[in-house]
Symmetry: C2
Subunit: 358 residues, 2 copies
Amino acid sequence: MYHSHDTLHEFTRTFFTTIGCSARDAEIIADVFVAAELRGIGSHGLLRVADHYNLWKAGRLNTSPRLSITRETVSTAVVDGDNAPGMLAAAFSMETAIRKAADAGTGWVACRNSNHFGIAGYYAMMALRHGMIGICLTNANPLVAPTFSVSRLLGTNPVAVAVPAGKEPPFVADFATTPIARGKLEVAVKKGEKTLYGYVQDSSGRPTDDPDILRKGGAMLPLGGDREHGSHKGYCLGATVDILSALLSGAGFGPFVPPSVAYLPLPGEGNGKGTGHFFGAMRIDAFRDPGEFMEAMDRWILTFRNAKSADGKPSVLIPGDVEREQEQQNRERGIELLPSVRDELNKIAGELGMETRL
Amino acid sequence: MYHSHDTLHEFTRTFFTTIGCSARDAEIIADVFVAAELRGIGSHGLLRVADHYNLWKAGRLNTSPRLSITRETVSTAVVDGDNAPGMLAAAFSMETAIRKAADAGTGWVACRNSNHFGIAGYYAMMALRHGMIGICLTNANPLVAPTFSVSRLLGTNPVAVAVPAGKEPPFVADFATTPIARGKLEVAVKKGEKTLYGYVQDSSGRPTDDPDILRKGGAMLPLGGDREHGSHKGYCLGATVDILSALLSGAGFGPFVPPSVAYLPLPGEGNGKGTGHFFGAMRIDAFRDPGEFMEAMDRWILTFRNAKSADGKPSVLIPGDVEREQEQQNRERGIELLPSVRDELNKIAGELGMETRL
């Protein structure tokens, strides 16, 4: 069964106003949830409404936050998210980065005391509406072991970069600093399948193809997989995301990032507040004539798009192509939720006395 | 035979003044060359003096450049390197980024019309002397095929990030966006050995363990190796480095980056000028009380350093550990050049009528 994105937007909005968000805040949050669904990233879509519901019931989510800038210069700011749903803290932080960039050429904002914010690409893409380059990083609850270790010290810590182009659609990269997303492991577990080597290790640090290994003391591997294939580079990248997101803002770092689900305990105090993000916005004309830049960017995109494919492989993709095509299709056809997700959402709506159902 | 780093510094300085550099410029260039040798990255050390000699003889390197800022805002600048040795353009650009950060909180500089600049980490580390975070990216001559392609469109495009700490040594990540450096392939060729799968592909895009495949129309793979193991993420990262380095500055992008050796032809005109770099400097106090930050950074470093090792693996490394230990050793013991490199340097010294020999 397919739902229009408007229906999903309205449901999400109603859910968040029901648990205490203002109409304006619920609108922002619903935008991010529905963007994930439209772009084909269901793992960050309405599936996660239940996590928010459970965090809220446990008193672990502040639905009427006061977001504040606690420190700033002409090109920087630090935002305290007041334990808000991550989408609110993130959207406010990225707006601040864009405002700083309008004045100073670039704007850079670190955010603490936030929560899971959905898809990183959403915030990077906010800069495109202003003709700017947008950057978004976030840390996340620890699942990844650094090279040589068995300790889960880093999240999948994604990097998103959005670059405007001229006649071509924008370049939008949004990728975890691990070979795969955690969601792919869950899918393999549910199907009773093995996974590929190179994604996870067991509790002794040995390679394994068991997708359920995270429940048995195993860990995800950094991008690169093993040392011979550059896992130390994936570790460097994930570590950089953690440092910029948490240490510049005062958020929890590495193993002290709070979980995005209520059934896992909160980390102890004293190692920073909440989840951390880092945002950047760069005005093109702070570097180059925008007309020239857009033309060069179109040339870049066409050069890569028209590269020769390997035998039996599809055309070279520009980062953002897949999600944009998915969005076009999902806008027209509607979005299919997993039956289990729909049932859960309707159950929550019932418990909260919401009038709307999916 | 071991040489003191002072001896190598003097040799390099003399070489560059002999081919037309000012004493001050030669000093800067020698600093970067010797830093590579000290840090154990011989592939970016005196081995490359010959490349500079050949580029200069071919009239492809400007040893008396006029570096200029062609555009700026309070937090940004664009530098034209006037076809200088990359070290000069890069050091000037990073100094500019640091100066901007002192005023605006952060500074971001894109540089065009430059050349190979040695180790990216050197410039990121310049920020440490000012208690700032330093970032350095560069594009490089095309050897890497994007996911699904056989066309060599990207360089090994490294990323360097230096972060100051308190009592602990700084975090210094400096890594190519490919599983290995090209130099490792050369070593395997010279030894007549195969390489591992996951580094290179043949001219049809098929996996291969032939380290000499670049001479046969093959290509290096992005970090991740193949699509299943996240090569599209390595491609996203290398592409981002290319865009920030070349498109913001007006340098040659992707396949149009000029080679760092004289025996390869220059790319055609019209797709940007020279090699491109991108530099960032961030003042800690633009985000957080520096004392608090340094303490948190020490805690971060100790948390990772003390993580549990996998069976049979060494301790977890903090980015920069290996190079720092190497430097300590090389300062005391001296630096060993390959006999072939030493002979070549002495031959060049003879041709130029330099009085010094190694």
